[in-house]
Symmetry: C2
Subunit: 195 residues, 2 copies
């Protein structure tokens, strides 16, 4: 077996961008061939089938893009953390060098209601991000930073939905105009629950 | 030309459900044939091509499902309106007799970044809903119901993103568990801006 004559990391980046821009369904093997500049047999040999390539893209996306979002939650001040969280999200969604929207939000819209591994995976990602958000609100509450009536699960659910919705809005120019407004105004809403 | 021997309204409902459940891309003509119980030539004759059927589904969805959401904004009390808005949205998303998620959110995720009529249409729907939300917040502010620092555009953007994000969460059982939490807690966040 000959070793592949391409830069694996670079091709993974291109595969990720193709799924990110077009969505799972619209990204045919033909689209992936074009994006990667490789014949389908080379793609299959190197990465497996379309679902395997989508999995690889998700892993790449999580490491390169979405990890930094949850990093914002480490701040001890909830208002700073929430502001950084949404500023980071807005910067990603409004970065003109990147595809529009969010690979995870798109995958959850297209696949999370399906049976099978990919559906499970997209659905499972909700749990991981939600748990990190709940843990952050619990930490702030336990540190006396939040009012007694602040419910970590409810507030985390609002953060999750806001983040996903911004990603959908990020798919069009008209929607992108709303992302900065909502990112800027979200911390203000949470003032209600600051101790 | 023979007249079609099927109930047009019933078939439109089935076509809408197919796009709603599977998304635009995954709903092939074969899927539409199965959903409608009609051969493709009958579908084409009655409704036009796949894009035309998606347009018809959108119109049906707006009339039957998403209209009532904006009706909630007519209330003179912003807190009641916001609570009704999110309760209506949650009831739609959690209705077990309906497909999961939201046809408009799905269409915006899949199509709003594309050139052409369907992309324009999905992107344009953001403007319609956003304008209705901005108008409601302006009305409440002018009636002295909101604080001076309440920005109708920012608050409307947050409502838009929250609504779209809930729709994405609605695509999986794990996400659906978060919808009631966020719907219940959203009005509380807006207390910050009540006069």
């Amino acid at each position: 077996m000959r070793s592949a004559s391409f830069d694996r990391a670079e091709v993974i980046g291109k595969i990720t961008d193709a799924f990110w821009e077009n969505g799972y369904e619209a990204t045919s093997i033909g689209v992936l061939e074009g994006a990667a500049g490789l014949k389908r047999q080379s793609l299959y040999n190197a990465f497996g089938n379309k679902d395997a390539m989508f999995e690889i893209a998700l892993g790449y996306y999580e490491t390169e893009v979405s990890m930094s979002l949850l990093d914002a939650l480490a701040d001890d001040d909830p208002l700073t953390a929430i502001a950084t969280f949404f500023a980071t999200q807005a910067a990603t969604l409004l970065d003109p060098s990147r595809p529009s929207g969010c690979l995870v939000a798109g995958g959850q819209q297209e696949l999370a209601n399906r049976d099978g591994e990919l559906g499970e995976r997209m659905s499972g990602l909700i749990g991981e991000q939600y748990d990190a958000l709940v843990a952050a609100f619990e930490r702030w509450r336990d540190a006396g930073k939040l009012t007694d009536d602040a419910d970590p699960q409810d507030l985390a659910a609002i953060m999750m939905a806001q983040m996903r919705g911004q990603s959908v809005l990020g798919r069009s120019a008209r929607g992108r105009a709303l992302i900065e407004c909502s990112a800027k105004a979200m911390p203000g809403l949470f003032e209600r629950y600051l101790a």
